[in-house]
């Protein structure tokens, strides 16, 4: 996967909603993968829960807007929000520019370490994304 928008760094964990999770002890940073931000497009607005809030795996923790589309941010793991990226809230396009770096979204204290086992490593995520892209290409023209 040479294309920038399909970059999948090793050492991070990924879910099927295209979030990455970077674990450091009981803490984790969360952001959108390069493919995730590419699918969403040019991000204009971001609205996040506040520090101290509990986010739960599979549930919303904010909203995101691009190309006149409002989407829900869905937590890849459960935990208490320690910090949100204020720079990204003010300038959400940073997620498009640097999804794995300056474009991180929030940092949490993990509530259930076992949930990490449900996430994909880079190789598995890369393969899954390829499958999704191939499937979509096959469907093109179906409508």
């Amino acid at each position: 996967m040479a294309m920038g928008h399909r970059r999948v760094p090793e050492g991070l964990l990924y879910d099927r909603n295209h979030y990455w999770v970077k674990v450091a002890g009981r803490e984790a940073s969360i952001g959108l993968s390069a493919h995730g931000q590419h699918t969403i497009g040019d991000i204009l607005y971001l609205e996040l829960v506040s520090p101290g809030a509990m986010i739960r795996k599979g549930e919303g923790f904010g909203s995101i807007e691009s190309s006149k589309w409002v989407g829900a941010l869905i937590a890849p793991v459960t935990g208490v929000v320690l910090d949100t990226n204020r720079e990204v809230e003010a300038s959400p396009g940073q997620i498009n520019v640097d999804p794995y770096g300056q474009g991180w979204i929030l940092r949490i204290e993990l509530s259930d370490i076992d949930e990490l086992k449900l996430l994909m490593k880079a190789t598995a995520y890369r393969q899954w994304v390829e499958e999704q892209i191939n499937r979509e290409h096959q469907e093109e023209g179906a409508i």
Partner: protein, 375 residues
């Protein structure tokens, strides 16, 4: 065999009722309690709507709206401010994300959703086309805009079709990238939108317009539309949700802290004529909210300046990003303007942005003009 979608025509409703119903139907689809749905909606009384993430105070002339009995509300979908009176038709697609052929990419999805309107307009003898990022235009002028949202595995894409539109009231009730005391700018802005009456002269009856649109969507999605009604659960939930969508808490939200809005107007002289750029900037988020570009230069294709305005709407206001956008736009669309280069637009836009971002941008009604000459 064609997939069957529900067809709803809910008639004229107040803004809050329409906004609440959007959420109810979307939720119904998410829960598997409804099939994919096409809804037509109308608004009465007239209303000014802001996009989900927008701040009312930055987008709507509230005092004017209150004086005129124009309702103000917030959509659950994205996009910008808009004005709707009784003469317009709204269209909405509610569908499961896994519906065969629905693109995952939001821009591709918008193009597909608008395709039904383009086909429907063709059935009325109107040649329309999709204009990125989210518009449908006729003769280079906007006739429909669209935006969307999602809930779980379901999504809503909605838009409006201008049938017989009162542009002057829209100009008065929305905050727009023009100086409203400048007649020339107002005239220019009027020419940026178009309605069916202006195109066709005599309007077909509304049911005929709706039928054409419905046929357009049916053709575009290769579906069969079955007229239906709200389910009992939807009616109950609608009643329950309505107070929230009527509340100030919903309408106002808490959004202004990370947004701003500043207007500036700049004249820039080039070898090919002068360019007047009017920019509505969000200096907090470093975004060009919208821009109006006029001047005495000759552009080919004729609609290219309106397309350019659409291309820079909601784009980054950083000088390098603007230049990249302009060069790409000129190259891809084969734009030719004698004596005017992409760099001229770049200079004019940067000057306007600098003026707006430095705090020189003025309250919209008082926006002044700065002139600069080509060396």
């Amino acid at each position: 065999m064609k997939m069957v979608w529900r067809f709803l025509d809910t008639g004229p409703l107040p803004a809050a009722n329409n906004m609440a119903l959007d959420k109810v139907i979307l939720n119904s689809l998410r829960c598997g309690q409804a099939s994919n749905t096409l809804r037509f909606l109308e608004f009465s009384p007239p209303c000014a709507l802001v996009g989900y993430h927008q701040a009312v105070e930055l987008e709507v002339e509230e005092e004017y709206c209150h004086q005129q009995g124009i309702e103000i509300n917030r959509r659950i979908t994205g996009g910008g401010n808009l004005y709707l009176d009784e003469g317009q038709i709204g269209w909405e697609i509610f569908a499961h994300k896994e519906t065969r052929g629905i693109p995952r990419n939001s821009e591709d999805m918008c193009r597909l959703m608008c395709e039904g309107v383009v086909i429907g307009l063709a059935k009325l003898g109107v040649e329309a086309r999709f204009r990125p990022k989210n518009e449908i235009e006729v003769q280079g002028r906007k006739i429909s805009g669209a935006g969307g949202t999602e809930m779980g595995n379901a999504f809503l894409y909605q838009g409006t079709l201008l049938i017989d539109f009162d542009v002057d009231t829209m100009i008065k009730c929305l905050k727009l990238p023009i100086n409203k005391f400048d007649d020339q700018q107002i005239q220019t802005f009027r020419r940026r939108v178009i309605c069916l009456r202006e195109i066709l002269g005599n309007l077909p009856p509304i049911p005929v317009i709706k039928r054409s649109l419905a046929d357009g969507f049916a053709e575009s999605f290769k579906i069969h539309l079955e007229p239906g009604d709200l389910t009992q659960n939807e009616k109950l939930l609608w009643e329950k949700e309505l107070p929230r969508f009527q509340s100030e808490e919903w309408i106002r939200g808490k959004r202004p802290k990370l947004q701003g809005s500043s207007l500036s107007v700049v004249d820039w002289k080039t070898r090919g004529g002068f360019i007047r750029v009017s920019v509505l900037l969000d200096p907090t988020r470093h975004r060009i909210k919208s821009a109006v570009i006029t001047g005495d230069f000759l552009a080919h294709p004729e609609s290219s300046i309106l397309d350019l305005e659409a291309a820079i709407k909601d784009s980054s206001s950083h000088p390098s990003d603007i230049l990249k956008t302009l060069r790409h736009f000129f190259a891809v669309n084969h734009i030719r303007i004698s004596g005017v280069e992409p760099e001229d637009f770049h200079q004019a836009l940067c000057l306007a942005i600098s003026k707006a971002g430095d705090g020189q941008g003025q309250p919209l009604e008082d926006a002044g003009r700065m002139e600069a000459k080509f060396p």
